[in-house]
């Protein structure tokens, strides 16, 4: 593990009760305080660790705040242009049929510039997993409107608040994905509370299981906070997810071909 930062180790008078798994690199985060990218990284790393597949995993990194996911996850990685991660992952998957392949993409990445590549990879049933971080803004470029921005939400490019007549409504990717034949699993979770984080880990696990079982394209949307561009403190950001985002982006499993109890299974 490169980048090990000794400051993260316990001092002599401290007892270590909770440690990172080896798939997650120890390093000082570049994310803002209260940002959920770190939690999402941790969930992915734990699932890859639990499944014992990190050494055959290939991450396709995207742009945005999460461009540097590869600095945190101890796996082979390749960087994709903005929005094209699912196309790059298609190439990786076709070239290396035995690898575990996943993309990690923001909403600007996957739902805007890259929605074409994303839907078509999903529709082809590429055996890849897409982890989709929905924080309703473009984080890295400074808080511009995303396809997922809520109606009425003010951003640096929707200063009066997003309106249905001018910008259209927020795109619900998990529901769209569920309708495609090549998709084997589509779920939306949130990272605002311990309960939701636990559910999210389960969903990430099922998504990777589905890929490894060779079932098709699996998709997990994670409602995440961007305290910086929401101009909220981390606690208030969590509240916003619960109060404003979840009503628009309902949580749940929209498709799971491996689970007969899930509605939409045969979509």
């Amino acid at each position: 593990m490169s980048q090990t930062d000794k400051r993260l180790r316990p001092r002599n008078d401290e007892k270590l009760v909770f440690d990172a798994n080896p798939v997650l690199n120890e390093r000082v985060t570049h994310y803002c305080p209260g940002c959920h990218h770190g939690i999402a990284h941790r969930l992915v790393s734990e699932v890859l660790h639990d499944l014992g597949v990190a050494d055959k995993t290939i991450l396709v990194a995207s742009v945005g705040c999460a461009a540097f996911t590869y600095d945190y996850l101890n796996v082979d990685s390749v960087e994709a242009p903005h929005g094209r991660a699912c196309a790059v992952a298609t190439g990786v998957r076709r070239a290396r049929p035995d690898a575990v392949v996943f993309t990690y993409q923001g909403d600007g990445d996957m739902a805007a510039i890259g929605i074409g590549e994303s839907l078509h990879a999903a529709n082809r049933g590429e055996k890849i997993t897409a982890v989709f971080i929905n924080n309703t803004v473009y984080g890295m470029t400074g808080g511009q409107m995303a396809p997922t921005t809520l109606l009425g939400q003010k951003t640096t490019t929707s200063k009066q608040g997003r309106s249905l007549s001018n910008e259209g409504g927020p795109i619900r990717l998990a529901e769209i994905m569920a309708q495609l034949q090549g998709v084997t699993y589509s779920a939306r979770c949130a990272l605002d509370s311990v309960k939701h984080v636990r559910e999210a880990k389960k969903a990430v696990r099922v998504a990777f299981d589905a890929q490894i079982a060779g079932l098709g394209f699996s998709f997990v949307e994670l409602l995440s906070g961007c305290p910086t561009n929401w101009h909220l403190d981390p606690v208030a950001a969590n509240k916003r997810i619960a109060n404003d985002m979840i009503p628009v982006f309902p949580l749940g499993v929209f498709k799971d071909v491996a689970d007969e109890s899930v509605e939409g299974k045969n979509v």
Partner: protein, 363 residues
């Protein structure tokens, strides 16, 4: 080899056979005339050889699939024409910036814009000057016959892996659609397909477990944010592009005693060659110089023929390779130009007058 060993096929089909014979195992592409026989044939040839064929949703999708497969060290390619290649430029720049190999066929057509589906060499600048954003170069080969379409595929994959760089085959509607006898035999001295995966072992991504115990993860990327890091990266790339010059290729005919040397590439070079031969038969001291690699441009070879001769660039565009010829000759010799407009199908007789005119013209 007997005549029976030759097959009568189009340039596009020769590309497809050359690709699989050279070891190509992944193809990603999107339909566009005049290159459709390439994906049509590969849609069966590649799976038959244990590879993957994907008809992408767009050229943007295709080039990024190529980026992904190339990153895995697998011999992979895409093919398109002009406007499709424009859509691929972002991905090509990322591949160059990330040191990722891949082969891109451009059977170019008339432009700008939708243009037409006739022949054109209007993509010369885009192909040889980088084409995408940032300082990058593609290795570019220009075939002028169906046989070369076959043979150059071996060279293209070998170059892509040797230099970890995108390689473009720049053809046009003529060489794509021409039907001629082709020997389907790997050209002498070419790599075995397995040699490519050996070359890739040092850098490809595959899951670090594939590299044995104590392996550390690898990352292929083009982003360098720390101050000075991108400068270093560009220095490294510059060195690579400088070293690539040794790959320059050309062929020439009657240049030793020529007073006027015609410089042309691709299909037009072939037509120009007929015109030059015809004029030679009449005792005119004309010759032909054909850059085979357009990047690196065979500037030294051209320069070595400069003294005492004049040059006439003939190309099917409004004046693009002309600039490289002038740069190579750098004032030592005078350089004239004759442009054939994109979309026209011309014969050798249409080049006789322009060449004779150039012979007469004293500058």
């Amino acid at each position: 080899m007997s005549e029976a060993d030759r097959v009568l096929i189009k340039g596009n089909e020769a590309v497809a056979f050359g690709a699989v014979d050279a070891g190509c195992r992944c193809y990603f592409g999107y339909p566009i005339t005049p290159q459709n026989e390439v994906p049509e044939l590969l849609s069966s040839l590649i799976p038959e050889n244990g590879g993957a064929f994907v008809q992408a949703e767009s050229e943007v999708g295709a080039i990024n699939m190529l980026l992904g497969a190339g990153a895995c060290g697998v011999a992979a390619m895409t093919s398109s024409s002009s406007c499709g290649i424009s859509l691929m430029q972002e991905g090509i720049s990322y591949m160059a910036g990330s040191h990722i190999p891949g082969v891109i066929i451009n059977m170019s057509r008339g432009g700008p814009g939708l243009g037409d589906i006739g022949p054109s060499q209007g993509d010369y600048f885009q192909a040889v000057k980088g084409g995408g954003h940032g300082d990058h170069r593609n290795l570019v080969l220009a075939p002028s016959s169906a046989q070369e379409c076959y043979d150059f595929m071996f060279r293209a994959f070998a170059l892509a892996f040797a230099w970890q760089n995108p390689v473009m085959i720049l053809g046009d509607a003529i060489v794509a659609q021409i039907k001629e006898p082709v020997r389907r035999v790997p050209p002498a001295g070419t790599h075995k397909p397995e040699a490519m995966s050996d070359l890739a072992r040092a850098w490809r991504i595959e899951g670090f477990g594939g590299r044995g115990q104590n392996a550390v993860p690898r990352l292929l990327k083009s982003v360098y944010l720390v101050e000075g890091a991108l400068a270093d990266r560009n220095r490294l790339l510059l060195q690579k592009y400088t070293d690539m010059r040794r790959e320059a290729l050309f062929d020439s005919e009657y240049t030793d005693d020529a007073e006027l040397v015609v410089v042309a590439f691709g299909s037009i070079a072939r037509i120009a060659r007929s015109a030059v031969r015809r004029l030679r038969a009449e005792g005119r001291k004309v010759g032909l110089f054909r850059p085979v690699s357009l990047y690196p441009f065979p500037e030294e070879a051209l320069r070595s023929r400069a003294r005492g001769r004049r040059f006439l660039v003939i190309e099917q565009n409004t004046g693009q390779m002309l600039e490289d010829v002038r740069l190579a000759l750098n004032g030592v010799s005078s350089v004239l130009w004759h442009g054939v407009m994109p979309g026209l199908f011309i014969g050798a007789s249409e080049l006789i007058d322009p060449i004779l005119q150039a012979v007469k013209e004293k500058s």
